[in-house]
């Protein structure tokens, strides 16, 4: 599905991600965990094309994305939920979702998105900026789903969100995956969330994947030791 080979990203002289390889299979939820500054956000941004990559190849379903701009990657099937949510604050909730729809040439917000996030239907005429953090997170996910992605990238979706809603988000991700048959790549620091949501766990350290485990046989203590400061 999503395949990343020899991927490197650098800001000027400082290389953040070096020769990284990863694959996300069809219908799979993969979590990338790691401490702050290890390259999670840079990895996500470079996959969607917000940050240019230095070398390597990113492909989705056999289509090479490496030379595409951000909006072209989205149209090719990459959905992106950024860290800090970044919804459009002065657009209404409905308009926020509609910006995503435009990418695939649709006009009306599909009912199944509102079914997934009923609160967004209730608030569809409010400005995005006036929603709470948890609601904004749902909006950001809905906006990304509106682009009908084949793979959904989420960058620290639990940041700044209360623990019981974190559980909801994990459940929602699994539900999205089951209902829509897409693949999900999520970067995270909260181990409990990762154990709830992911099928496979990768640990990133200084821009390199240093450890990989399936969730079933995952050794929580070992992964926690990677996350400990």
């Amino acid at each position: 599905m999503l395949s990343v080979k020899h991927h490197s990203v650098a800001y000027g002289q400082s290389t953040i991600i070096e020769d990284l390889n990863l694959d996300v299979g069809k219908n799979e939820i993969v979590a990338v965990v790691g401490r702050n500054g290890m390259g999670k956000t840079t990895l996500m941004k470079s996959l969607v094309g917000m940050t240019p990559s230095k070398s390597g190849e990113v492909s989705l379903d056999g289509i090479d994305l490496s030379n595409l701009k951000s909006f072209q990657r989205v149209r090719a099937g990459v959905g992106f939920v950024p860290q800090g949510r970044m919804i459009f604050p002065t657009l209404t909730v409905r308009e926020n979702i509609e910006t995503g729809l435009a990418a695939v040439g649709e006009k009306k917000v599909p009912e199944d998105l509102y079914k997934l996030f009923p609160v967004l239907k209730e608030m569809q005429n409010r400005r995005g900026g006036n929603l709470s953090g948890g609601q904004q997170q749902q909006l950001a996910i809905a906006r990304a789903l509106a682009t009908r992605p084949k793979v959904l990238l989420l960058d620290e979706p639990t940041e700044g969100i209360q623990p019981n809603i974190i559980k909801d988000i994990a459940r929602t991700l699994r539900r999205i995956r089951d209902e829509r048959g897409l693949s999900i790549l999520v970067s995270e620091q909260v181990l409990s969330f990762v154990m709830d949501a992911a099928d496979r766990i990768l640990v990133i350290e200084k821009g390199v994947i240093v450890h990989e485990e399936n969730r079933e046989e995952a050794d929580q203590d070992k992964i926690a030791s990677y996350l400990a400061v």
Partner: protein
Amino acid sequence: MFDGYTSSELMSIFAMQGFAGLSLFSVFVLMALGLAIIFGQMGVINMAHGEFMILGAYTTYLTSGFFQLYLPGLFGGYFFVAMILAFLICSALGALVEWLMIRHLYHRPLDTLLATWGLSLIMQQAYRSIFGAREVGVDLPEWMMGAFSVTDLVELPINGLFVMIIALSTAVAVYLLMYRSGYGKKVRAVVQNRPMAEAVGVNSAGIDRATFALGSGIAGIAGAAFTMIGSTGPSSGQAYIVDTFLVVVFGGAQSLIGTIVSAFGISQAQSTMEFFLSGSMAKVLTLLVVVGILMLRPEGLMALKVRR
């Protein structure tokens, strides 16, 4: 300063100056709409905006000449053709300028300022070489001449009314485009967060080009309207550009309603005060009030307030 006028005379003066202010308001609105779209939405300060307006005015001048020579029977309707032509020509030039120049300078606001100022000088000189330094005027079709007499003292010129109608319908059209269409939604998304808009599939470079073309096209309409109430010279645009910036900044860069309200306030204040005081005193007073209000509300009259 009101000494020596009877109260009925004062009423008439206010009504007529108020109406003169409305003509000024119309030109301000048309100019400021284009500028507000470009400045508010893209952060580009287009110093050549006045010259785009003059391009529209010259287009109208040429069209009226063409109709006089070849289609005298249809002369009454030339203005509508001219307006459409002015819009098309100016937006085409706008798109070209964006592609050649502006898009390379998006992250350098001061350089854009200089570059567009240079462009304005080039355009002015081009007008001088092509059309000559003398101001040109167009002949109004018959139905646009004359005035409504409301009372014995108050007369409202028809061309002024007409320009006002154009300004208001353009404003409504722009409003609908920005707040009701898919294009407008994309523009607003790009304004708020360019990289994020790209990451939900909006082609922001294409939106920029369309927006710059639209703003320039509206300047063209402004120019066409301008010929109805004044004559056109190579540097007529300069006279309006500063006031127009004032209108845009005062209204709040991202608010269309704010732009219209501030155009109304500034034009009314100037035109009423100009009758009783000298022109420069009127300007000084207007500027003082604007500066005072901007100190209290730095984001302009009608900036939206939300969590960011």
